[in-house]
Symmetry: C2
Subunit: 218 residues, 2 copies
DNA sequence: AAATTAATTTAGTCTAGCCTAAAAATTTAG
DNA sequence: CTAAATTTTTAGGCTAGACTAAATTAATTT
């Protein structure tokens, strides 16, 4: 039975492993966990002891298959609960993350799988992130950021890179929501802002925002 | 922000306070918590420090209004989650308690209240126990145990005293479920067993079982 | 290639939550 | 109303998980 802290460390390592062939560094984990390096080192020893990671002093750390599967099980629960909160309990997409951080640690496979069924087997969470299946398989969708689109190109808004409450609420205010088709109308040279067209309206947004919006080219 | 252990102690004290005017004893709490007296003493000092209980050495302990409200909030969450598991996720009444023990500690008032709404404001949990309202008000129903009924009397099955998985599954097997009207047909002198009549069938059950079934006289 | 800088680990400390054993207070009994 | 039994508290210890400061190893510069 893993502790919350062990599960959270595994999750952090998993997220840091994406696009990172070599080992994950102690400091990067500490920074993601809002803790300090010595706490991470101690945890790595414990996780290594339990065969959840491969750890060699000063060499960074990598998940074992077992560790990866465990991390994905936590992520699966996190995302399913986020769907539940939005779909069934009237939460907004910017309100669910903190609660899901708590719910992801509830231990009951039956609960997770019944929840999955109850939600009709969703494949994406409210932020567009893929939901791993019970076996720990996760289906990634090719995506690029809106700021990479050229003038005249259109993309479908499929996810956010920055999922902070602030950014999510900003998108709500501008009525940019998951699934929207966004066309790049014009790029301003002076401040690099990007004029975009939604189904109805046209808007202008900063590069910073555009760099945080995942799209698939249409 | 209270810890799980603090919340669990409050819950234990609350349950031990029912029908117990004077203070709750250290040992009774330890026994309910599956811990030892010194651990309880230590916790009582902490809870007292936080004004959740009134504690005086060797004098037992009582909840303050604040402590009582806090305990009831945990119990409210526990019972709402049990309803959710049974009503929405196909759990049986004997499978929900352990999961609710985890879920009752999730911190989000909005979550609790939205869940309540989603479940259409249930007043009883799957075991017949009343669900406190958001203000911490709990509505008790007058009840007696089946074994107290006299021959010829009929009672409506409204709750269980023993809510162990074993007993609940036994009731399932005998097809005795919440809401059933149970008539006492005969009491066997030899082994004190009680012959009862359900809507259709007649059964015989032990005094022990009968002493664990709450009914209201019809 | 040595020196400096940066990253990581070790050493030692702290708190929460639990424990056992011993001491003290309260209750029960003779 | 003392004496024994019971209950409760204190004392001291342990583990998990966090931290700071110091030491060590690795990486980067000159
Ligand atoms: Mn999230
Ligand atoms: Mn998400
Ligand atoms: Mn329960
Ligand atoms: Mn219940």
């Amino acid at each position: 039975m893993l502790s919350y802290s062990e599960e959270n460390h595994l999750k952090a390592i998993f997220h840091l492993s994406v696009n990172n062939e070599s080992g994950v560094s102690t400091n990067s984990i500490a920074s993601k966990m809002n803790s300090k390096a010595p706490s991470v080192t101690e945890m790595l020893k414990k996780l290594s002891e339990k065969d959840l990671v491969v750890y060699k002093k000063y060499q960074g750390v990598l998940l074992t298959d077992f560790g990866r599967k465990t991390a994905l099980s936590v992520i699966r629960k996190h995302r399913l609960w986020e769907v539940f909160l939005v779909e069934k309990l009237n939460f907004k997409w910017d309100e669910v993350h903190d609660i899901a951080e708590q719910l992801e640690h509830i231990k009951s496979e039956k609960l997770t799988n019944e929840l999955d069924k109850f939600l009709d087997y969703p494949t994406k969470d409210p932020h567009g992130d893929p939901i791993p299946n019970p076996a720990g398989f996760i289906k990634y969708t090719a995506k690029l950021v809106l700021s990479d689109l050229l003038i005249g190109e259109t993309g479908k808004f499929i996810g956010v890179k920055d999922s902070s409450s602030t950014f999510l609420k900003y998108l709500d205010k501008r009525e940019i929501s998951l699934g929207s088709n966004i066309k790049v109308i014009h790029k301003e040279e002076f401040d690099e802002s990007i004029h975009i067209g939604l189904v109805e309206t046209n808007l202008s947004i900063s590069v910073k925002s555009a760099a945080n919006i995942y799209v698939t080219k249409l």
